[in-house]
Amino acid sequence: MKNRNLVGFFFFLLFVGTTISAFGQDSDEKGEGKEKEESERTFDASTFIMDHIADSHEWHILTKKNGESVAVYLPVIVYCREKGLDMFSSKKLAHGHEYKGYKLEEEGDLKGRIVTVNKDGRINEGNLPFDFSITKAVVGLFFAAVIGLLLFLSLSQSYKKTGISHPKGIQRFLEPIILFVRDDIAISNIGIHKYEKYMPYLLTVFFFILINNLMGLVPFPPPFGANVTGNIAVTFVLAVFTFLITQFNGNKNYWRHVFAPPGVPFWLLPIMIPVEIIGIFSKPFALMIRLFANITAGHIIVLSLVCLIFIFKSLGVAPVSILFVIFMDSLELLVAFLQAYIFTLLSALFISMAVEENH
């Protein structure tokens, strides 16, 4: 099966490419006085949680007892108008060092972003460089995409070999889900004559969101702990896709509903038309916020419950906390499936509103 080998090789290349400087260690800041101070510092739960939710340029694996941290330093790709394109490992920017005129902000408004640095000060708001880096979320996204490709390419290969009638292997698991998306989401909303054109998009969105949600729930090992769908840029792009598909496939009926809703007297039109136009934008916006907030809120809850152990600094809290975490994680599993379903359902609904014929 050539496809499978090609995809496996691509996966391998991707991983080699994204871990250019793997497992770097930093060897500075090892004073003894500092160690003692750090062990008695109170545990700051909110920073801890926000650091785990947010995207970052390095993949932090663990911090050893003497303060050294083990992390995978992901590549940084920045483009700035004066200096052009620069690619280097983020190890050079660790701990606030400055490299080639770039610096990684550690606190303040621009925390976590790369800024350009002057000889003495900072070139700030005019001139933030374009950051195309392969960050943690991007690696997670690539990994999910590769998983999806592997699953579905092998599915299509086995259909080609054995035919549609007799499912075996991975077909048995995926076929009911694909049929569910086709029957309950696509056909029942878009209609049996027009649904086929939009099936690839609906299937892709459903499985993409599902795989990324599930991967966000598994904290370990490294490609799994990335918070992809909890990143508002990712959900923004998905919502933009739905928006573009509905707009470019809208037929005359759809635009008539927007600009001249039937049954509305003419003196209400100055109110109805802006409302309808806002509605065109607010529906994908709601899709974006719903997915982002559900997944992020779930992660924050689970992390907070785990942080309880560290806030109380006692081992007795651990059984209670772990039980709560198991319960919340099962709820998060339900939410993962549900949010993928809701996103796909609402996308199908918007597409159906755009392509429906006059009745």
Binding site: A286, I289, R290, A293, N294, L338, I342
Partner: protein, 68 residues
């Protein structure tokens, strides 16, 4: 001050979500009691409606997080 107000705002939003989902659950229970053979359809519709209401409540949480 804005931190406290943000927390109060988030709490108020959750009151709205709780009331809404409670009402959905209540009507779902009534419907299931009236017609037990339609349980699975009612359950599916209930979960979908709950997810949409939760989306609205999470709008407010996101605003509260941004206002910090």
């Amino acid at each position: 001050m804005t931190g406290t107000m943000a927390a109060v705002g988030a709490g108020l939003a959750v009151i709205g979500a709780g009331l809404g989902i409670g009402r959905i659950g209540g009507s779902a229970m009534d419907a299931i009691a009236r017609q037990p053979e339609a349980t699975s359809k009612i359950q599916t519709a209930m979960i979908i409606a709950a997810a949409l209401i939760e989306g609205a409540a999470l709008f407010a949480i996101v605003v509260a997080l941004i206002a910090k």
